[in-house]
Symmetry: C2
Subunit: 292 residues, 2 copies
């Protein structure tokens, strides 16, 4: 069982220590600005989580709320202000914005060195090239950290990544096939044929398609490492909220067959914000040309 | 047999027509600057080829030669001058430069809209994201064009890309797995185990590893499409130059088994410069905000 909660706490403790060191040695405090347009309740929950985590680690944070009918110009003006603010080292614009906002243009307006989500094409390109001066997207970076923490051998292994999103699937495939990681990576998606057979080849299976319990035991090689990045809500009358969160993997049937498996919740989920905080510290160091 | 020479001539004829249209309708001439540091004979050959092709198509070109001991500052000053020159829509800096030059810094100094090689991280990132406002690297773009010209179905097919270079392997994998192309792509490389077995799964095999005749018939699925991007020199006393060019594929043994196969030379090779010229026309259109 891969305990993402425990590993994320370890990462957050490292970040907290790094924040203290930055303060003591350089009198610097990493600063993160989170911006949200509109009042989508799920987005508000994410934002609050980020602000709260910043507080716990000693990271300075600002929350910027723009009305649901904000214009592109207003959003870009906010980004420009945050780009110029030396207290702010990371800028997060909560996705998705309302339809009148061109999200890609907003992302490209963020200074790459403050783009700790790694959404800017410049940082995405650096990641593909393997140039380490950029950032790495948080969720795939969290998966890599989990593999490392559990001592999972990657070199020469067959990895299958299901899903080709820009924030998970594609960067995940890139990171797993990098030199030094050296998996032989297959990217599967909705058009993949014989998907069960493709998955069953995987020594390491990373799934990020958002289809509840799609991966069943017959699709998994005995002894495989199974990392579940999917999160879906399914109705559940026994829960107060009326739903529960489930992953892409049918945990009960797959777990006995896997050597390592990450649950949902409590697997990859908590790693994302931990890696985001780690990126914020790195951004602060880079912008101030200091090392820890 | 995939005749890259014939397809490249078709692309070049389209480009020539586009250049004539741009001149007639908008009084615009696409302009390309090629820069070289030092006098490496192979690089000189490439550069001459590019300048010659520009001439044949009516594309304006300039050749800039810096001495072998040029400094980083001199190279960056040249790039800055070309960035600012409205006659120049595409800037090519011949690789590799001498060791005192930081090639990545030079590439990043090129304005992304003039980076028709698609070496700048910003353009690389746009390609990964699937944002079509950027450029696509010429060799993988040439392969995609060959697949299209020969009516090769890609959706749901298993593609194997051998090699993970930044200019061929990685972008090739990205393009083949894109929505609308929809291959299930596996990226193999020097650390891949059971490479014969991995290759033998491929409906479409693209190889770019530079190992002469590495791919033999037993590694190829009957009816597969085999695209050979490898180019190696092997000694050949019967040739005037003392060597000949061979690909990654053992053509004689593989050809009878493949449904389509690209030879070396005369396969992917001629497509690269054709796509580069096509990118130059696109750059000219974008920088002048005109369409053809």
């Amino acid at each position: 069982m891969i305990d993402g909660k425990a590993v994320s706490e370890k990462v957050l403790a490292e970040v907290k220590q790094a924040v203290a060191t930055l303060k003591a040695r350089h009198n610097l405090t990493p600063g993160v600005a989170v911006a949200i347009v509109g009042d989508d309740p799920a987005s508000q929950v994410y934002i609050r989580g980020k602000v709260k985590t910043c507080g716990e680690l000693g990271v300075y944070s600002e929350k910027h709320e723009l009305p649901r009918d904000a214009t592109q110009e207003q959003v870009l003006a906010l980004v420009a202000k945050l780009n110029a603010d030396p207290k702010i080292h990371g800028i997060l614009v909560q996705s998705p914005p309302p339809p009148q906002i061109d999200e890609r243009a907003v992302v490209e307006a963020i200074k790459p060195e403050k783009d700790i989500d790694c959404f800017h094409p410049y940082n995405v390109g650096l990641m593909l090239i393997g140039d380490e001066k950029g950032f790495v997207p948080c969720t795939p970076q969290g998966v890599m950290r989990l593999l490392k923490e559990y001592g999972i051998e990657t070199s020469g292994k067959q990895a299958v990544v299901l899903g080709r999103s820009n924030i998970v699937g594609k960067p995940m495939a890139v990171l797993l096939s990098r030199k030094g990681v050296d998996c032989t990576v297959t990217i599967g998606h909705s058009r993949t044929r014989n998907i069960a057979e493709v998955c069953a080849r995987a020594d390491i299976l990373v799934t990020a398609i958002g289809r509840p319990k799609f991966i069943t035991a017959d699709m998994v090689k005995p002894g495989a490492v199974v990392i579940d990045v999917g999160i879906s809500r399914v109705p559940d009358a026994t829960k107060k909220a009326g739903h529960r969160l489930v992953g892409d993997v049918d945990f009960e049937s797959v777990a006995p067959k896997a050597s390592f498996i990450s649950p949902v919740p409590g697997g990859v989920g908590p790693m994302t914000i931990a890696m985001l905080m780690s990126n914020a510290v790195r951004a602060c160091c880079m912008q101030n040309r200091v090392t820890l």
